[in-house]
Amino acid sequence: MAKQRKVTAVWARIGIYAFLLAAAAFFLLPLYVMLTTSFKSMEEIRLGQIFALPSAPSFDAWRAAWSEACTGVSCEGVRGGFWNSVAIAVPSVVLPILLGAVNGYALSWWKPRGGEWLFGILMLGAFIPIQVMIYPLVKLEAALGIYSSLPGIVVVHLVFAMPIMTLLFRNYYAGLPAELFKAARVDGGGFWRIFVQLVLPMSTPMLIVAAIMQITGVWNDYILGLTFAGRENQPMTVQLNNVINTTTGERLYNLNMAATILTSAVPLLVYLISGRWFVRGIAAGAVK
């Protein structure tokens, strides 16, 4: 019997891996095409054999994408905006996550009067296409004197991240044992202390999900950075788009692929190292 069970367990394992590998194959197929393309020459690409391996793999496109491709009068590849992107990303990731966590916590645990209304409007606002809001926001920031500056872009990211970040944390906190909140209040914890000492440590899985979303969103953002950051602070994606996008210019697909992968390196890195934060049973042992 035990033997039989082991056999089924082995089959179950095989099934699990089969599914995961099949899924991975589906997910990785475009990456495969991107990578092979990036190592091909344009002549080879023009043949249209997208699944073929490069006949003479070359790193030229990568080097060009990083440091040589033209993005206007200057030809410095995508690296140009790297530090700008970092400068935008750090506050635009940290602030929205923190604010979102605070909002979610306040809404789900303290339930202040009118909070649900605020949240409802916010969630509704999430459905407006960002682009429609750009013009009034430009006017607003201009009036505040932060248009075309680092604070300008951070504020815009904050505004647009608010619905999702708040939603994320509000629903997450709603799932934690309410008893904890009671205990903490008896212990005399005020709003902030409960948040910092009790709620935040229990938020790691959601913090990491929020970080994944926000880093990706901010790092890949193009239109907002373009519009609000000012020309001194243009993020990397502006260079990326300049490398890739063109209506009437020539398209160097190998370079485009390399540039795209290079630009997404930072979020990818975050994904890779995020694993240890997906902890199991964060609230285990809290209540009977």
Binding site: E179, K182, R185, G188
Partner: protein, 351 residues
């Protein structure tokens, strides 16, 4: 300073009224034990005193001040939750010291109190563990510890010892009593353990369905239960209830235990129920009645003897080591002075 005064308290969950216009005065420094069947609203009452539930009516005063709407932290209470509600990301030590750290207590003082509580609760080796790594009883002790270190004016304990072994429970019972003496704080204590209730309580409150049935000292509640419910609820084995009808003289009873009541205790023709505690049934050879033994439960230091007289079942406690076996026919008598009499319809005590 820290008496608790509850007036007309009512609490609803949706349409379900769990506490119904409850009045209760807890004197400062009192050790009040709440007793009542599962689901009668004990925890709900504690939660409302702590300010963790919105009340739908009534007033709660603590230390003479209206605290009906005050924040839990302002009420000066320490609480042990029935479900523990430990902070899962904090170690045992952090769990216990959290409240003190919040209050800005000096570090040395925190360490002193935590150490003391940990020692008393035998948690010292576990101080660096997280709740998930503890056994059920250990978690419960952490929950107690967290309340104790606060040295609050009012302690609310919701079945704090239920998952502990008898020995530890006895020790902690003693410690709690001691603590109560030294701190002089008011304790409101929910328990299902009658030994706990009897040994700890200065007064016992018996609740049923959100309504208080009787308030009194342990002896009062046990010996002079206010109604059939209280009588049946307290005591293990349960009180023997014998229905009877009062004769024309207003004294003589028929039924399984024909007796003479004291003058004026009942009226002629009244249907009553006699309550006889098992320990007041004495097996003695010259007893007025004889019954057949049905079952004997040995309990270590005593035996419970289940007997039948006609159709009426009885239990009796036997403390002398005598051997009793099922089928024996034994003569018994009872301690009439300790008898309770209840009206069969209103179920209230007749005196």
């Amino acid at each position: 300073m820290s008496g608790v005064n509850i007036q007309g308290l009512s609490i609803k969950f949706g349409a379900n009224e769990v506490i119904k216009g409850l009045d209760l005065q807890v004197v400062e420094g009192e050790f009040l034990v709440l007793l009542g069947p599962s689901g009668c609203g004990k925890s709900t009452l504690l939660h409302s005193i702590a300010g963790l539930i919105d009340v739908s009516g009534g007033r709660i005063e603590i230390g003479g001040q209206d605290m009906t709407d005050a924040e839990p932290s302002e009420r000066g209470i320490g609480m042990v939750f029935q479900s523990y509600a430990l902070y899962p990301t904090m170690t045992v030590e952090k769990n216990m010291s959290f409240g003190l750290r919040v209050a800005g207590t000096p570090k040395a003082e925190i360490a002193r109190r935590v150490d003391k509580a940990a020692q008393m609760l035998q948690l010292t080796p576990l101080l660096q563990r997280k709740p998930a790594q503890l056994s059920g009883g250990q978690r419960q002790r952490v929950a107690i510890g967290r309340a104790l270190v606060r040295e609050a004016g009012v302690f609310l304990f919701d079945e704090p010892l239920s998952n502990l072994d008898a020995k530890l429970r006895a020790e902690l019972r003693r410690e709690l009593k001691l603590l109560h003496h030294t701190l002089g704080s008011t304790m409101i204590y929910v328990t299902h353990d009658q030994v706990e209730a009897m040994t700890l309580a200065s007064r016992i409150v018996v609740m049923k369905g959100g309504v208080i049935q009787q308030i009194g000292t342990p002896a009062e509640v046990y010996e002079r239960p206010a109604n059939l419910f209280v009588a049946g609820f307290l005591g293990a084995p349960a009180i023997n209830l014998v229905p009877a009808r009062v004769g024309a003289d207003g004294r003589t009873l028929d039924g399984a235990l024909p007796l003479q009541l004291a003058e004026g205790r009942a009226t002629a023709g009244q249907a009553v129920v006699l309550g006889v505690r098992p320990e007041h049934i004495r097996l003695q050879d010259d007893g007025r009645w004889r019954a057949t033994v049905e079952l004997v439960e040995p309990m270590g230091n005593h035996q419970v003897v289940w007997m039948k007289l006609g159709t009426q079942g009885f239990s009796a406690l036997v403390h002398d080591g005598r051997r009793v076996a099922a089928g024996d026919v034994l003569a018994f008598d009872l301690d009439e002075s300790a008898l309770s009499v209840f009206d069969a319809t209103t179920e209230t005590r007749l005196d």
